[in-house]
Amino acid sequence: MFRIITVAAAAGALTLGSLACAAPALASTADGTPTPTAHSSLSAIQQAGAAATSKRIASLTTGIGKVNATTKLSAADKSTVLGTLNGDLSAMQGLQSKIAADTDAATAWTDYRSIFTQYRVYAVALPQSYIAAAADGLTDTAIPKLQSAASKISAAFASHPDKVTPDLQAKLADMQAKTADAASKTSGLAASALAVTPAGYNANHAVLTDDRAAVRAALADTKAAAQDGRAILAALK
């Protein structure tokens, strides 16, 4: 409901004219279908609408399958993600039928534009779902396992001080620092990504940029920490 209200508010704030200006008049969609304008014929808009909705229905169906299969999303985040993706899937199916049945170009144009402005399947729904899955995987599994490994390595160092070199100590310190950094970067990250709405994207196309960068940086940290752990483990064997 919140999503619908916020999207409706954003849609109301934007004029049809500005939306028309946002779409390149002679551009084409990624699949080659000509991008219609407010002045395009009904059939052209319907053709583009069918292509855009079909593409999104396929992507959402794939995404929903992945989300259902993953064990890395927390239960709460999985519920949120599935709610969004299934809602968008249903909406795309509805829009596909509606645009095909529209009898005038103006109505079809409005419906066509809503594919983007109200749902933002590629710009928001799918990216935010994947960011949340990545963040939850790091938060719930990778980081705790790295912390556990570092703790056990510390215990092994205490048991066998003869095997501990300054280099190994430095690697353990780096492993702990990288893991802590990843934990800091992923703290609240899934929630932040999932809070982004199509309206938020309409107002700021970079609204997911920071979250995307954070998950990438956290992933680099956890990979580096795991490498440190592997190097230490090899030296202890």
Partner: protein, 97 residues
Amino acid sequence: MIGRAASRLVGPAVALALLVALTGCGKLAAGQGAGTGAPALGSAGSGPAATASAAPTDDSSALDAISQDLDSASTANTEAGSNAAAGDQAATTGDEP
């Protein structure tokens, strides 16, 4: 007379026997406990050997546990990387105006 004399010797003899038993045998028992006894008392000698073999087992278990943690972390990293890439791909291949 002879019976009385004999009975007088019984007490010291018993005391001596007890003394020998308590001192000599006690020391022997102590020696066995220290692992210096005959091979027949091998249980004492096997003690250090058992301890020596337990340490590598413990170390091996500890290293295995570390390895398992790192394996789990790496698997999670790989999956997180795939998800991050999928998010990037969705954002870049879409045709959102």
